[in-house]
């Protein structure tokens, strides 16, 4: 399923109430860990209501960038704003609901699936237990995991954990949904299912979504725009069609890698003497 065009209104998946979709602005973001510069002067915007996919090779800084947008890390220099506010501030978290679907799910192992989802509304005191139950079961139903409500995360398969973690994010009624490698460690069929879920959530509820992935199929199928990060720098930004037509050899190599068994580095391995 492909994502439709972005819009500036988001619809609450539980109440149907419309609200303004949020925008993300990253301006000259640099992030350093000791001597290692992970992100270098990264600048881009995420338009309200769009699916923005950030791709790049492993170690390019994608997850660090996502953590900065989620407010889990503080930039070394530059700014990140979500709906015009600093995402690291508690006041921002109270006014702008940003949900992050972690790569490994980050489900609470001591809580059942139901309690994992009910934790947020219970802590926020959003309604009585009956209302919370309706919200939780509705979210589980959207992701087709309602039968797993009483199971614990350790009893779930990888695909189910991903769907439960998306359901947990949905229960937050997010204005910004962040996905960190949502299809990693999944088979192609489950990857396609998760991609469809991401696109459906965007099409149905117009939630601003940002996906970090190196899954080319997901990126080029469901995204409105794609950014490619390499060695901490944003080397390109455009629609999937623009990327497919790009002549930049770095982009071409990344999107269409080839395996060359006659590459000189393999020859070096062959000629090395075994100990």
């Amino acid at each position: 399923m492909e994502a439709t065009q972005s819009c500036s209104k988001t619809r609450n998946p539980f109440t149907g109430v419309e609200a303004d979709a949020v925008a993300v602005k990253v301006d000259s973001l640099t992030k350093r860990f000791a001597d290692l510069i992970v992100l270098k002067n990264v600048t881009f915007n995420v338009i309200p209501g769009e699916i923005f996919v950030l791709m790049g090779p492993s170690g390019s800084g994608k997850s660090v960038l996502l953590r900065n947008i989620a407010g889990l890390d503080v930039p070394t220099s530059g700014t990140v704003t979500v709906d015009g506010k600093d995402p690291t501030l508690e006041s921002t978290r109270e006014s702008v609901r940003v949900a992050l679907v972690f790569q490994a799910g980050a489900l609470f192992n001591s809580l059942s699936v139901y309690d994992n989802l009910a934790l947020y509304p219970r802590e926020q005191r959003s309604g009585n237990e009956t209302a919370i139950r309706q919200k939780v079961m509705h979210a589980l139903k959207i992701l087709s995991v309602e039968k797993a409500a009483l199971q614990f995360p350790s009893e779930l398969s990888g695909g189910m954990k991903k769907r439960v973690s998306i359901a947990r994010a949905l229960v937050m009624e997010p204005q910004l949904l962040l996905y960190d490698e949502p299809t990693s460690e999944l088979d192609p069929v489950m990857s396609a299912t998760i991609s469809e879920i991401i696109a459906t959530l965007k099409n149905e509820y117009s939630v601003t979504s940002m996906v970090v992935t190196h899954d080319r199929s997901l990126a080029l199928t469901i995204s409105d725009r794609v950014g490619i990060l390499m060695a901490g720098k944003l080397v390109t930004l455009g629609t999937p069609d623009e990327l497919k037509k790009s002549q930049d050899p770095r982009i071409v190599d990344f999107l269409h890698p080839t395996i060359d068994v006659n590459h000189p580095r393999f020859k070096q391995l062959e000629t090395q003497e075994t100990p």
Binding site: L72, V98, A106, F108, Y120, E123, M172
Partner: protein, 158 residues
């Protein structure tokens, strides 16, 4: 003090391991994104639990200690004190204030042990390997603090 040492080894290590594991596997980050303070749902209940249970543990350990002492006093040949004499001496020399002081010290030790273990667990950085390092560090720091605090708390209570 012995009860606090056992608490640090058994309970403190478990607390550190659990919280360090939650930190390493991003469960704490998940709480942060949900605007749920980790201290509120992970640390405060544990502190409350230790404050409630420490006096109970002290009572149990005192009773076990007294009866254990009477067994040693009776059956170890070079001590050779009858149970009646032992308990008579115990009643004579042990004041209620001593028991209360012991409970107060234990409350302080228990509170410090849980606080240290929670702090070290939640500040674990790195991968799963760091969980073990955090547990070791938490127990060692707790034991050192128990020994140091024993001197200062005793001075205050005297």
């Amino acid at each position: 003090m012995m009860t606090a040492v056992l608490l640090a080894g058994r309970v403190g290590s478990a607390i550190t391991a659990e919280l360090a594991s939650m930190t390493v596997y991003q469960e704490i980050d998940a709480l942060t994104t949900m605007n749920i303070p980790a201290a509120k749902i992970l640390v405060l209940p544990r502190l409350a639990a230790v404050l409630v249970m420490m006096p109970v543990l002290i009572v149990i350990s005192n009773i076990v200690g007294w009866f254990g002492g009477s067994v040693v006093a009776r059956y170890v040949s070079y001590v050779g004190i009858s149970s009646e004499s032992y308990f008579a001496a115990l009643r004579h020399f042990t004041k209620f204030k001593d028991v209360v002081n012991g409970m107060e010290k234990a409350e302080v030790f228990g509170f410090v042990v849980v606080l240290v273990c929670c702090s070290i667990g939640l500040n674990t950085r790195g991968g799963p390997r760091e969980i073990g390092a955090s547990v070791t560090r938490a127990v060692v720091v707790s034991l050192i603090l128990i020994l140091v605090l024993d001197y200062f708390v005793t001075k205050v209570l005297m």
